[in-house]
């Protein structure tokens, strides 16, 4: 990975990774940016702006003084152990850092948008064909970081994380289900400016949200765009005829917020022990809704009365509020934190 001889070019500075890998690069920018230039991608939900705290890494030597964003985001014990936020560490001088091996699995993917489908009034599904590399290996449920492009009124790119809504066996195409965020920079770009045949850069796959081994029951709870990755996990299960009992609760306000009912119907025929329970918290009179009503925690509580908390696995994907409410419900009946899975984006 050396780019030149620092003895001949004093402008080159050095990072030693894990005691052996050496990167040499001109000083300037942050450690986060420099690593990215060398195709080492640290997790980030904010694109290196010191907001999310995801890009922490252990700095063994160098790095300069701690920055305010770091004292706010890092725990005292992390700081004592030498952890820093890579986006806040200026790349200059000699740096020695430690990175987990798993980080070297993140790759940058150039993709081309091939399709946009409206799922609801505020949610779209985007389909991307992988250009370079041509295929991606991931676990259904993981996420990628998408880099937006500038558009009228927004001069800079941002990076945002989106869960992959396509199953892992679909290695050459990625689907993302994206709900519009009011005043959101990236969702506005995707919903209003991204066009078929546009090229989009993504980094991944990332995250610990995927189906764990086991024979016990699985309960899934989805809200908003969260149905996407759960449907991906279910499609993987269907492909191998996984016999586990799975119940998926999908919470929405009224019928216009529902989507993928056709996909759920297909899964019902393909998966031997799958049950789909949509629940509307405030159906409109014109919805003619005969299904479950109330907050999603209501049917979830009903289901959990007959579940074995010691063997149940729960997968939650949706708004932070929904996840918090469901976790409270699950913990109340004794499901341990080690059996509840979600991506802590917030």
């Amino acid at each position: 990975m050396t780019e030149g001889d620092p003895l001949k070019n004093p402008a080159l500075h050095r990072i030693t990774i894990n005691g052996s890998k050496i990167l040499e690069s001109e000083a300037g920018g942050s450690l986060f940016e420099t690593l990215r230039k060398h195709k080492i991608f640290l997790p980030s939900a904010c694109g290196g702006r010191g907001i999310c705290g995801f890009c922490k890494c252990k700095v063994e030597a160098g790095g300069g003084p701690l920055q305010p964003a770091e004292t706010a985001r890092l725990k005292p014990e992390e700081i004592r152990e030498g952890y820093r936020l890579a986006c806040q560490v200026a790349f200059e001088g000699e740096l020695a850092i430690s990175l987990p091996d798993s980080l070297f699995q993140f790759r940058e993917y150039e993709t081309e948008l091939t399709g946009i489908r409206d799922l609801t009034y505020d949610t779209k599904r985007f389909t991307f064909h992988l250009i370079q590399p041509e295929a991606i290996q991931f676990k259904s449920g993981q996420y990628v970081q998408v880099q937006s492009r500038p558009y009228p009124g927004v001069a800079a790119s941002v990076t945002r994380s989106y869960s992959i809504a396509s199953p892992s066996y679909q290695a050459t195409e990625l689907e993302l289900i994206v709900r519009r965020v009011p005043d959101g920079i990236c969702t506005t770009w995707m919903h209003d400016h991204l066009k078929v045949r546009d090229r989009v850069l993504m980094v991944g796959p990332m995250g610990d949200f995927y189906l764990r081994e086991g024979s016990g029951e699985v309960v899934m709870v989805a809200g908003g765009s969260g149905l996407g990755p759960l449907a991906a996990i279910l499609r993987d299960m269907a492909r191998v005829k996984n016999p586990r009992n799975v119940t998926l609760f999908f919470g929405a306000v009224c019928r216009k917020d529902l989507y993928y009912l056709d996909v759920m119907e297909e899964l019902r025929s393909e998966l031997p022990n799958f049950r789909f329970v949509p629940a509307l918290s405030r159906p409109d009179s014109c919805d003619q809704w005969e299904g479950a009503t109330g907050l999603i925690t209501v049917p979830l509580e009903g289901y959990l009365r007959n579940a074995d908390p010691a063997r149940l696995q729960a997968y939650l994907c949706g708004s932070p509020g929904m996840i918090q409410a469901c976790m409270k419900t699950l913990r109340a009946i004794g499901v341990g934190n080690d059996r509840i899975f979600f991506d802590p984006f917030a």
Binding site: V154, A155, T297, A346
Partner: protein, 160 residues
């Protein structure tokens, strides 16, 4: 004495930096001038920024109970949208804020309020109600209107 923001901090208020539309709308006044003039309005109304923030936070917290569905609360209809991710304060403070937006409708008056979790912090911590024309601008008078409008409970029907 006029105060000016550090240019890096000032950039945080502009469209496309932290949010798509930014925090200033079409307001050309410096941020501290916006704060100063809204401060005068608060004094005139007898409202503190803490009281305004407390009231809005109470509405938002009640709205959360609906998990993004409508919530009836004291005659008003609350609804929140809670997206994944966090937003920093444009003033550069390290604390992060949930991406929650709340809408409050009062059917009896037709009044509407729209605000965010971050906006509550900006009011409480900085006395900043947003620039004119900003979609999250809250007029202090609007807050007073919601706070002071009495919720008239159903009158009891006398027994015969």
């Amino acid at each position: 004495m006029s105060q000016e923001l550090d240019p890096k901090i000032e950039a945080n208020f502009r469209p496309g930096t932290l949010t798509r539309d930014g925090f200033l709308g079409h307001d050309s006044r410096p941020v501290f001038e916006i704060i100063r003039q809204d401060g005068k309005t608060l004094d005139r109304l007898g409202l503190t920024r803490e009281a305004a923030a407390d009231f809005l936070q109470r509405l938002l917290d009640e709205g959360k109970k609906g998990l993004e569905g409508p919530v009836d609360f004291e005659g008003r209809i609350l609804q929140i949208h809670w997206a994944r991710g966090l937003l920093p304060c444009p003033f550069g403070e390290p604390r992060l804020h949930s991406k929650i937006t709340a809408t409050v409708n009062d059917p009896s008056t037709g009044r509407k309020l729209r605000f965010s979790q971050l906006a509550i912090h900006l009011i409480r911590g900085h006395g900043f109600f947003g620039g004119q024309g900003s979609q999250y601008r809250i007029e202090p008078e609007e807050v007073i209107g919601f706070m002071r409008h009495p919720f008239i409970k159903n009158r009891e029907v006398p027994s015969t």
